[in-house]
Amino acid sequence: MTDPSDAERYPTLSEAGRQMLQRLREHPHAPMFKNESGNRLTQQDVETVRAFQLEVAEAVVAEQREEAAPWLAEFLVGVYRDVPFYRAMGGAPRRLGDVPTVTRADLSHDVARFVPDSAPVERMINFRTSGTTGHPLLIASHPVVAASYLAFHQRALRRFDVTLRASSGDVGVVLLGYQRKCFTYVSVTPTLNEAGLVKLNLYPADWRNPEDRRKYLEDLRPEVLAGDPISFVELLKLGSTLRPRALLSTSMALLPALRQELEATFACPVVDLYSLNEAGPVAAFDARAGGHVLLQHRMLVEILDAAGKSAPSGERGEVTLTGGFNFCLPLVRYRTGDFASLELRASEPVLIGLEGRAPVRFRTHAGEWLNNIEVTHALHALALRQFRLHQAASGALLFRVAGRARHEAELREALLRLFGAEQALVIEELDNADGKLLQYSSELAP
C-alpha cells in the first residue's frame, strides 16, 4: 500500500496553491496535522464540478412526488441494469413504491453490491462512519462527488444572502472537530481558485499551545467555519474575534440556544445542514420555512411508516431517499433512520421536526410512554447547547448537559413536569470529547 503523492492529491496545484498549502502547514501557530488528503481533482473534474454548481444554483427542487421527478424512471432503469444488488431482482419496477427499501445495515453488509458497474474503481475514495446504530459504514465515493458538496452549501447559503467570495490567497473554509482522535489536514479548493481548506481538531492535544487555536484561526480568517455543535461549543470558548461569513453545522442537531449564541458571537448566519455520508447535504434549516428545506433537485424524499408505506403529507415517518449525486452509490429508497414529516411550504418541500435516528420512547413514572420529540418540545424553551437523555432499565433518567450548573434547576423542573414528580433523575455535566452524540437512548422497550 503506497502513499499517494502530492501530484495525486492536488493534480492542478499552481504556485499560488502551493504557497497556500505551505502557509497553512507552516504557520507559527498551526496545529500538528496528523494526516494528508487533497482535492484529487483533474482540470476536467474542476470543469465538471463548476458546471454542476451552476446546475444546482438554477435548479428547482420540486414537490416530492414520483410524477414530479422526470429523472426518476431513467434512474431506476439504470440502477436495475448497473447495480448488482438491484440487477439480481430483475428489471426495474415502474413504480418507485414497488422497490424494496434498504437500510444502513444493507449497505454495511457489503457496500460493493451497491456500487454501479459504471463507477470507476481506480479513482474511488471512501468515507467511513462509525455510526450510532451499530452498523459501521464504508461509503464508496469519488473526488468529483466530494467536491460537489460545495454546490449544495452555496445553494443553502444563498437563502441567507451569503455568496462565497473566497479565492486565491484566501482561506475558504476551516472544518472544525473536537475529538480525542480526528483526521486533520490542509488542502486547496480548485473551484474557488485554490482558496485554502483546513480540517483541524480543537482538542488541545493537537496543538503545541492551546492559545494557538485562536491565533491560527484569527490569522487565517476563513470565510466559512464548518463543524458540529460540539466543536462550535469549543470554538465559543476560545473567545476569538473571528468574523466568518457563515457557519455550517452538520452531524447532529443544532439546538436553538447554541445557534443564537453562535449567530450573536460571530455576527453571521449559522446554517444547520441535514447531511449524510450516504447522500451528502440533503436539506438546510431555515426558520422562515419552519424546517429543513430540501436542497437536491435529483433526489426524491419519501416519508415512510414502519411497514414501508408512504405517510400522508404532514405525518411523521422515516426519511427515505432516492437518487442523489454520488454516482458511486446511487440510493433507491434508502431508509436513513432519521424521522420527520414533509410538507410543501411556499412551494418548497420542507422536512418538519427532523430528528436523528429512530424515535426513542421513554416511560414516565406513571407508566405512560412518551416519544423523544415530546422531550425535545418540553426542553425547547431552555437555552441548552447540547444534551443527552438516557433511561436505564430501572426507569431512572440520566440527563447529561453542557453547562449543567446553569441549567440544572430549570431542567429538573421541566423534566419532572413531563415524567412526574417522583421520577428518578440525575443531571450530569456532558463531556464533549466523546464524539458524535446519540441524543436519546433507553434500555426500556415499550
Binding site: 487533497g38 430483475g90 419496477p93 479548493t189
Partner: protein, 194 residues
Amino acid sequence: MDQEGCELSHLMRRITETPPDFLEEPRLGPQGIVVVSAVVSDLCSWHHVDPGVAALDAFATGTPKADRNRLRVSLLLSWVLADGWFRSLDLRTAPLVPLLLQGASELSEHVAVEKLVSDPERREELARFCLARLGFRPLGETRAQAEDRLTSLSAAERARVLRASRDAEARARAVREALARKAAEESADKYTRE
C-alpha cells in the same frame, strides 16, 4: 415429451403479446399490485386442477428482494398456460402446479422476466420449457430434436449467467480492494464532514 404439441411459433407469439398486467409487480406485503395466488387459482380452475392451500400460499409469500422475479415468472407462465391451445387439453393429471412453482423458480434463477419476453432465444426457451414440463414437444419435431434444442438453449443461458456471476464477483472484489487502498482511505476534500 411423448406427445406432439402446438407450433412453437404460436406460443412464442403469445409470449410477445403478454399484456402489461401480467408483467406487473407481484403483491408482497405492502408492495406490488398483482395477487399471484389469485391468478394461479383462476388458471387452475380453468384446468380443473386443485392446487391446494399450501401451494397457493407459496405464490403469496416471500420478500421483494428474494421472490419478486420468481413470482413474476409464475405470472408470465400463467399467461402462457391460459392460451387456447393449453385450455383445449385435459391437464387434470399434468404437473401444472409444479410447473408454476418449481419451474418458475428454476427459470427465475437465471433470467429476469423481462428478458423472457423481449429476447427471442429466451422466448423460445420459455415456450419449449412449458411444453416439455407438461409432456409435449413442439409440432413437427422429434423428441430428440426437442430435447437437444431446449438443452442447448438453457445451457447457453446458464453459461452466460455463470460468466456474469463470475464477472460480478470479480468486480465486487475490485471495488472492495479499491475502497481499502490508502488513497481511498485518505478520501478527498468536502466543505463539510458528516
